[in-house]
Each structure stands twice: as C-alpha cells, then as structure tokens.
C-alpha cells in the first residue's frame, strides 16, 4: 500500500493530466457536435503542434509557449479549411463512417510527414525551468505540468465563455442542437460549422504546445492519445462537453492512481476497460443526451 503522500501526489498529477484530456476531449466533442464527425486526426494535429513548438524552440531558442500565437490561428484556419473542403464533400447518408476514414487518412498523412521531416527520433524540449518543481501540500509538482494545466484550464474557460456568452457561441450551440431550426432562424450553419471545426482544431494547438513542455514526442505518439480521448468522449456521452470534462478528470485521475501499483502501459488500459464497460452497460454514455443515442 503506497503512502498517503504518494497517493496525494498521484491525485494532483491526475488532475493536471485530466485538465489536458478535458481540453482535447472538448475539441473532439465540438467536431462531433457540429458535424457528427469523429475526428481521428485530432491527436495527430496535437502532435503536429508539439513538433512545431519543438522545432521553433530548436531553431530560434524562443519559448515554446510563444508558438501559440502562430499555431492557434493556423490550426483554426486549417480546421475551417478541412471542414469546408473535405468533410462537406462526403455523402450525408454515410458521413459518420466515411468521415472517420477520411480523418484517419489525414492522421496517417500527418504521421508520415512528421516522420519524414523530423525522423522517428524521440524529441524533447529542454527549458531553463524544465526541472523546476514546487511543493504543494507535500506533493512535488513540476512547474511545466502546472503551466500545461493552466493553459488547458484557460483555454477551456475561454471556450466556455465563448460558447455561453457570445452571439457566435449561441449560433454554434443552436447549430449543434438542431441544424434545420438554426437555419430557419437565419444562422448560416455551414459557416458556423466551419468555425466550430476550427475551434476544435485550435484546442489541439493549445494542447500540443502544453504537451511539448514536458513530454518526449515522436511521430506515432498520437495513437497513444487518440485511444484515451475516444474512450473519454464515449464514456462521457458523445456530444456532451460537461460529460467529456468529467470523464476526462475521472479517468485521468484513475490512470494516475493506477500507475502507483502497475506499470505505465497497464495503467493506460483503464481507458479501454471504461470504454467497453460503458458500451456494455450504458451505450449512450453517462452524460450524453439526445445526441448520443443514435451514434
């Protein structure tokens, strides 16, 4: 039995990890909401953002956080372009299935190009504050992890304010809830869906930069992220942002706690166990509403 302080340390780390999961899962939920699309390439873009941060740091020595000013708008534009140019081409009848394949192929292309450009070598950013850590009620927490969590929390908060307290957010939520009704109210749902997709991809930019601070990255890393993220959105109920956030926190903490007793790889299986258990017991997820029923 591990000591109480070790457990506490794990809980803190779990919360910090869960924050990042929550941000990324919120992005996935957005895609699903606006287009009924499961975006497999989400985590590939995550790793792409991490690579861009690493590359900028290696070439110019700037702080990886500064790359956000480039990657966030860039990814937003890429998301809009992807929705408008690729996903709207698919037939509505088979959109859900085919979009999975399409985004899967995007993920393969990104992984292949990253491998070609930067080779399969594992990369890591070394910063002045990489090894710094602070004491938090007896738990030692690395500063970079705190920064990553802070970024994720800020981005989530921004997303929340945007969704709840702006005209655009209202239009976006209306589009998610009922597309035809939103159109009748005069909302240009195609444009809004494009922006929604862009926002989703922007979360990957923030997440990727946060990830690059304290993680060793390599091109095929995205497979280790997409599985847990998919599990989170299914457990939380497809299309439900609060559900995704709660599931992300819970599962992130469980993973962190299990790492005390088991190896890292075994601890990661908790996501898949949760996924299969959810589908066997409650296929629509634990917080999913109307949307999740049919998917």
């Amino acid at each position: 039995m591990p000591s109480a302080s070790l457990v506490f340390q794990s809980v803190v780390l779990g919360v910090l990890l869960g924050g990042l999961y929550a941000l990324l899962a919120a992005g996935l939920t957005l895609y699903f909401g606006v287009m009924r699309v499961v975006m497999i390439a989400h985590s590939a873009f995550l790793i792409l953002a991490a690579y861009l941060a690493w590359y900028a740091h290696r070439e110019t020595g700037i702080d990886p956080l500064l790359t956000l000013f480039v990657t966030v708008p860039l990814f937003f534009a890429a998301g809009v372009a992807m929705q408008r140019l690729l996903l709207t081409r698919l037939r509505p009848a088979t959109l859900t299935m085919m979009s999975v394949l399409l985004t899967f192929s995007v993920a393969l292309v990104i992984e292949g190009l990253l491998g070609y450009a930067f080779s399969g070598t594992q990369r890591r950013i070394r910063l002045g504050y990489s090894s710094a850590s602070i004491e938090f009620f007896g738990a030692r927490v690395a500063v970079v992890k705190l920064i990553a969590f802070g970024m994720a929390a800020l981005a989530l908060l921004g997303l929340y304010v945007l969704m709840k307290h702006s005209r655009f957010g209202q239009a976006l939520r209306a589009t998610i809830q009922h597309r035809e009704a939103a159109q009748l109210l005069g909302i240009d749902t195609d444009r809004i869906a494009g922006y929604g997709f862009g926002l989703g991809l922007a979360t990957a930019a923030v997440g990727g930069t946060a990830l690059s601070l304290d993680t060793t990255i390599y091109p095929s890393l995205h497979w280790h992220w997409i599985g847990p993220l998919m599990a989170i959105i299914v457990v939380g109920g497809l299309g439900s942002v609060p559900g995704a956030a709660i599931a992300a926190m819970t599962l992130g903490m469980l993973q962190s706690l299990l790492q005390l007793e088991l190896s890292t790889t075994w601890a990661q299986t908790v996501f898949y166990v949760a996924l299969f258990a959810t589908l066997a017991v409650r296929p629509q997820g634990f917080f999913g509403g109307r949307l999740a029923q049919r998917f």
Binding site: R91, M98, L101, F104, L108, V109, G115, M230, L279
Partner: protein
Amino acid sequence: MRRDSDTPSSVPFPRRRLLHLGALLAAVAVAVSFPSMAPSPYEITVGIAILNYAVLSTSWNFVGGFTGYISLGHGAFAGLGAYATGLLVAKGELPPFAALFVAAALVAVLAVPVGYAALRVRGASFVIVSIALVLVLLLVFQSWASFTGGSRGLVVPRPFPGMLRAEHHRTFYFLFLALLATALLVWWLIDRSRFGMGLKAIREDEDKAQSLGTPTYTYKLVVFVVSAAFTALAGGLYALWFGDLDPVFQFSILSGAYMVLMALLGGVRRLYGPLLGAVAVGYALEYAKVEYGDTPLHLVVAGLLLGVVVTFMPDGVIPAAAALLGRFRDTGRTSIREVTAAELRGRREQSDGKEVRDGERRGRGA
C-alpha cells in the same frame, strides 16, 4: 415507358453467365499456375503476401460490405489469430494446423463479447471500439512479455520441419489460396441467402429493417463473429508461414486500415472487390518496400490513397469506372424523347393515349 428488360445492348443472360464462368476459370488457372511460373521463391512470397491481404480484406468485407459497419480494428483479430496459433504451437505443443483451427475458434468466441459491446452502438462508436480494440491489445501483448514474448517477439516453430524454403513457400501459397477460395465461397453463399438480404437491409436502413422484423442485432453479431473467425484464420496461417511475431506489426492500426482501403478500392458490394483491391494495393506495397525501403512516406501514400477513395469513390474504383464507361455507352435506357414538344402535341391531337406510345416508338427509331 422504360423498358429495362429488352434493351438492345444487354447480353442474353446465359451468355453473360458463361462469360463470368470463363473469367473465373481463367483467374483460377492463373492463380494456381503462378508458383510454377514464378522465376524465384521471392515472387512466391509476394504472391503469398497479396493472398494474405486478399483473405484479410475479404474477411473484413463480411462486416463492412454486408452491414456497412466499417471496422478499423480488424487487424486485432488477425493479430489474435496469429498469437493464439503461435502460442498454442510453441507453448501448448499442439500440432500446427490443429492449433490454427483452435485459435480461430478461440478468436470467434472472443469476438462475441467484443461484438456485443461494439454492435450495440452505431456508426461512430463502433469505429471507436474497433480502434480501441487494436490499441488495447497492443498494450497488453507488449506488456505481458512473460507470456507473449513482448517486444522481443514470438518465434513460431515451422509446421513442416524437413521442408526446404522454396517448397515451404509453395505449400503456403496453396494454403492461402484455399483459404481465400473458402472465404469467397462463404461470402457468395451469404450474399445469396435470406441472411445476407437481412444484412444488406441493415446496411441500407437499419431502423426500417428492424421494424420489418429483421433480427438486426443477432444478424450483425453472427456476421461479425464469422468475419473475426476468417480474419483469425488468415492471421494464424500467416504466423505458421512467417514464423516470427511482433506485437507492433500484429496489432497495428495500419493493417486494419489497409483492409479497409483494399475493400473500398475494389468495391465493398462486390464479391471480388476486396480481392482486386488487395492485388492492387498489396502489389504496390511490396513494390514500394523493395524500391524505397521502409520510409515514413508509405504512410503518406496510404493516407492519401484512402482519402481520395473515401472522398471521390466511396463505392470503389470498379463501380466508379463502370459508371464512367456507362456514360459513353448507349444503354437505351432513357426517357428522353427524340421528338420536339410541338411534334408530340401534334401527334397527341391526332390520336388517343394508346397510339401515342406507338408513335413515340417510331419517332425514336427515326
């Protein structure tokens, strides 16, 4: 007005059937004589690899083609079949081909709970589960090194110890060919059966199929298990042939993606669609391996190809090409009248409705 049955360009039914039979016999003849024509054992190994892909994508097509449920994780069943066969031979001391069938049966049993969870949900969640299956099995087989050999790999003893390498390849070529023929036969039988009709009804509209009394859930589960069993047989045979298993390659999300790509490329609604797709993609893969080695660019090519097929030809290249050809062929199936509206009105004034049809026929002939 449309007369589909007596269009001038359509071949009479028996002749068409003979044509099909002739093409089939020619294909079988080529496939069977290939090993004796191949200049070196290397070509036979390429043939085996392509046949392996063909069996895998045909097995995938049991679920993908009939029900329209796209599984990206069928590589998991191939990997499980391979490892189960390998472990039964290496640790269970079973005779190789008994192990192969026991392994396939085990995978089929395991596919029941997986299908139970995966098929309760439609569309998106199903794909998520299929991907998750591969990822979780990769984790398990890498971590559980004491049992599976982990990343060091698992060596499977050869089934025919005294056999020379060339002879070994030749034998397995025919084994894979037999497995492919069996898979195609079963697919064909299901395609013509009432069961197959129910599955296709699920593909077209699951709610309607259910409301008309098709036991959709049972049908989906049964075909999922059949598909998993064939995939496992292919994986197991591969294990016996290749003799060395590594979790990274056995539980690779990429192998599942290749199955989808091959089947979609050839056309999922056709019996030979996945086979043709496998020949095209499999040959390209083997060629690229020799010419360019193992660069990450093969991922890019596979991704681009999959993207193009999904975006522009979701029904496959063969149907797309057939549709393109059809544009240039005079099918006679048209409701366009080769008379002007004024002429038609004139005629209509002259005669009553029954004679208009005759007049129109004359008008088209002119």
